[in-house]
Symmetry: C2
Subunit: 287 residues, 2 copies
């Protein structure tokens, strides 16, 4: 498949950004690829690997040369990089990002790019505990769901361009309101992340025996807790209201189950496990 | 490696029991293998697959023909099967089980077998969400940790026999007091199981958007929630005090994190994620 975009520039060549370059290089050989990074050495590596056609450490300059710009920096650095590239973004048909949080990001970035009306938020639901260019791979986006979050002021052609971009690297797309996205991402991703970290801390607090007994189930249950603390603190912080709400609800459900066990209410415990098993099958393997 | 046991009988040819037969058949060709099941048809299948040399639907009769007896029924059926086979167990050098809970199981089964002093609890830390003979495989125990839980009244030769049995199918063994085992298993396995189920229910309660957003992280985090509700209700019930304690502590930690997010206490959130990441690396990949 060929991308309908003649040129794409990524800002921040970490796991998400570099994987996007690799995927576009492989799938869209006619698309010109560009990259911005704070450090020139990072750009040199991309050039040596043949992943880019144009680079700059000047964000506005790079933006001015691209039809589509994709901000791939952590959510707590989006504002700063967006401010820096905005003066060049008038030439872009679309500017998007890959942040795991959308309400504050879209609000802030729509303001920064309001002169052009071309910012559309994206959240590709893929990634890894690993990070950086070293972990990047051309098939990261294949089969992944990418949530696109247009608002009332989004230009229709920009929404279609960003959807076409994600589809060109093998992702499926869906549209959600930024607020609805954040509520959903809190439950599907951010709260499970905190729960995984808390489960690790619970085991670690118990001394050597619980640690020794951690087997394959524990490894899987807590895999996401291997994620980068800086990156995830910024995500949780940016979605703190929804995450806090979800944590309180999860906590209530655990307390309820603890009481059911204390009261020997086997039916209630069985009902929870049975319902969760059925719901999980529907979530993980939808018919 | 040859098993030092001339004959081993399993009681209940499900995932754990049938996998044990398959492993012994492959690794210890000189050991005679026997099986008890409630239904004769289950035994016929084992015979047709060449996995057993002697079978019976009479538990006491089967026990009387084996040097080692391994109870492989769910924890809420251990008592009943142990009572049925006890009259024949005098001939066994060792009787053990594979239950995920040890304090109540060892207490009850030591009484049942007290005339012989030959019951030693075991908990091989392996398994799967799948169950039954169809899911059994010869390498289930390879590299797994098997916790052996002797008490003051355990005969030393019986403890050594049961450890040799698990090692003969490729498992590592460790010894823990039954009570210490249950406290550790609650933190390493039973509490994470309930947390996984609760995370699924939280997502399911949120409508279609959170369900649509569940990606690979969620699949791994909640994998154990695909386990059989009957089996797991019995495990949680048998270890209810420790599990309830662990759930309350987990719940407190989640509430604390929710408050930190509400108060914009980024340092506290970062400290949790950083500590969990470090602890997980030590648990999952001990140096």
């Amino acid at each position: 498949m060929s991308s309908p975009l003649s040129s794409v520039a990524i800002f921040g060549p970490g796991l998400m950004g570099a994987s996007l370059l690799m995927a576009l290089r492989e799938r869209c050989p006619n698309t010109r690829l560009g990259a911005w990074a704070r450090r020139a050495e990072a750009l040199t590596e991309l050039q040596e690997r043949g992943l880019v056609d144009f680079v700059s450490t000047d964000a506005a300059k790079l933006a001015s040369e691209a039809e589509a710009a994709v901000l791939c920096v952590p959510v707590d650095r989006l504002d700063e990089v967006a401010q820096a590239m905005a003066p060049g973004a008038g030439a872009c048909a679309v500017v998007t990002d890959v942040g795991s949080v959308k309400q504050t990001v879209v609000g802030d970035l729509e303001k920064i790019f309001q002169a052009h009306g071309n910012f559309i938020g994206s959240h590709p639901m893929c990634g890894s505990e690993e990070a950086g260019l070293a972990a990047a791979r051309a098939n990261l986006y294949e089969g992944a769901l990418c949530v696109v979050t247009p608002t009332d002021i989004s230009r229709a052609s920009a929404v279609e361009s960003v959807e076409a971009l994600w589809r060109s690297v093998g992702a499926r797309t869906t549209r959600l309101d930024p607020r609805e996205h954040d509520r959903a991402a809190a439950l599907a991703s951010h709260v499970p992340h905190v729960a995984a970290a808390a489960l690790v801390e619970l085991v670690a607090s118990g001394g050597p025996a619980p640690t020794e007994l951690c087997a394959g189930g524990f490894r899987d249950t807590t895999r996401v807790a291997a994620g980068l603390p800086d990156l995830w603190t910024a995500i949780l912080q940016a979605n703190r209201k929804e995450v806090a709400d979800g944590l309180v609800r999860l906590s209530d459900l655990l307390q309820e189950t603890a009481r059911a066990l204390e009261n020997n209410d086997t039916n209630k415990v069985h009902a929870l496990l049975k319902s969760a098993r059925r719901h999980r099958a529907a979530v993980v393997d939808p018919a």
